[in-house]
Symmetry: C2
Subunit: 146 residues, 2 copies
C-alpha cells in the first residue's frame, strides 16, 4: 500500500465526520503497513474541543500498542493539524506526518511560522491529495453558510 | 477565594502526580468561584502523551458543563502549558489562564515567540506562586537523575 491509499482511508474517516455534521477531518495511523488507528473529528458529538481526529487517533494507537511513543508509525491527516494536534504529534515522536489540505485559518503554521513544532526526527509530507481533502472542507463550510 | 487559593489547589494536584512518579503538573478549572475540574498529569499511567493535566481538566469541564467552550471559566496550571495544551486552551476560548512556573524546555513560548497561541479574549496571568510550582518540578527531575 502506498501513501495515496492511506490518505484515502483518512478521507473515508473525514467523510464520516461530514455525514455527522462535524468539520470533515480524518486521520489514520499506520505501523508496518497496517492501520492501527482510524478516527475522525468528534468535537460536536462529544462537545469537547480536544476531540480532533488526530488526538483520538493518537490515544487509540497508544492504547493499542501500550506505548506512549510512535517513532516507527506514520499518521495520515486530511488537513494540516492545528497547534494542539501539532503539539500532541510532537510528544508522540511519530515517525512521519502526511497531511492533505493546508488550513490557513487554524493550521499550526499560522502560529509557529519558521520554527517547526514537531520532533526533530519526524518527517513531514505536505499536500498529499490536497484537492480532495480541501474540497470536502469547502463543501462543508459552504453548506453551513447556506 | 483568591487566585493563590486556586493555584494551591492545582499544586495539590501536582503533588499527586509527583507521588505517582508523573511529571508533577496539576490544573484546576474554576467557574463562578467553584472548582469544576481537577486533574494532574497521567502520561505514564495511561501511556498516553496527550494525558496532560490541562487536557484532562478541559475534557472533564466540557463533560461537566455539556459545553465545548469555557469563556467564563479560569484555569490554574502549575507550569506553563506546552504547545498542545496551549492549542487546546485556544479552542476552549477559556476566559483566563493563570500559570505558575515557566517551562523553558517545553513551554509554548519556545515555539510561538511573539505570537500568542491563545484566543484573543483570553486573559493570561503568568508566574503565580512560581517558586512553589518550580521547586516541585526541580525536585522531581533531581530525583529522576539520581
Amino acid at each position: 500500500m502506498d501513501n495515496n491509499y492511506y490518505m484515502r482511508q483518512a478521507l473515508i474517516q473525514a467523510q464520516k465526520a461530514f455525514e455527522e455534521e462535524e468539520v470533515p477531518i480524518g486521520a489514520v495511523i499506520v505501523l508496518e503497513n497496517k492501520i492501527i488507528a482510524r478516527a475522525y473529528n468528534q468535537v460536536e458529538r462529544l462537545k469537547d474541543c480536544t476531540a480532533h481526529a488526530e488526538i483520538i487517533a493518537l490515544t487509540s494507537a497508544f492504547n493499542y500498542l501500550g506505548s506512549k511513543y510512535l517513532m516507527d508509525a506514520s499518521i495520515y491527516i486530511t488537513v494540516e493539524p492545528c497547534l494542539m494536534c501539532a503539539g500532541a504529534l510532537y510528544w508522540s515522536k511519530i515517525g512521519t506526518i502526511i497531511y492533505g489540505a493546508d488550513d490557513e485559518k487554524n493550521g499550526y503554521k499560522r502560529i509557529t511560522k519558521e520554527v517547526s513544532p514537531f520532533h526533530p526526527k519526524t518527517k513531514l509530507i505536505k499536500n498529499l491529495l490536497q484537492d480532495e481533502c480541501r474540497l470536502l472542507m469547502q463543501d462543508f463550510f459552504f453548506r453551513k453558510r447556506k
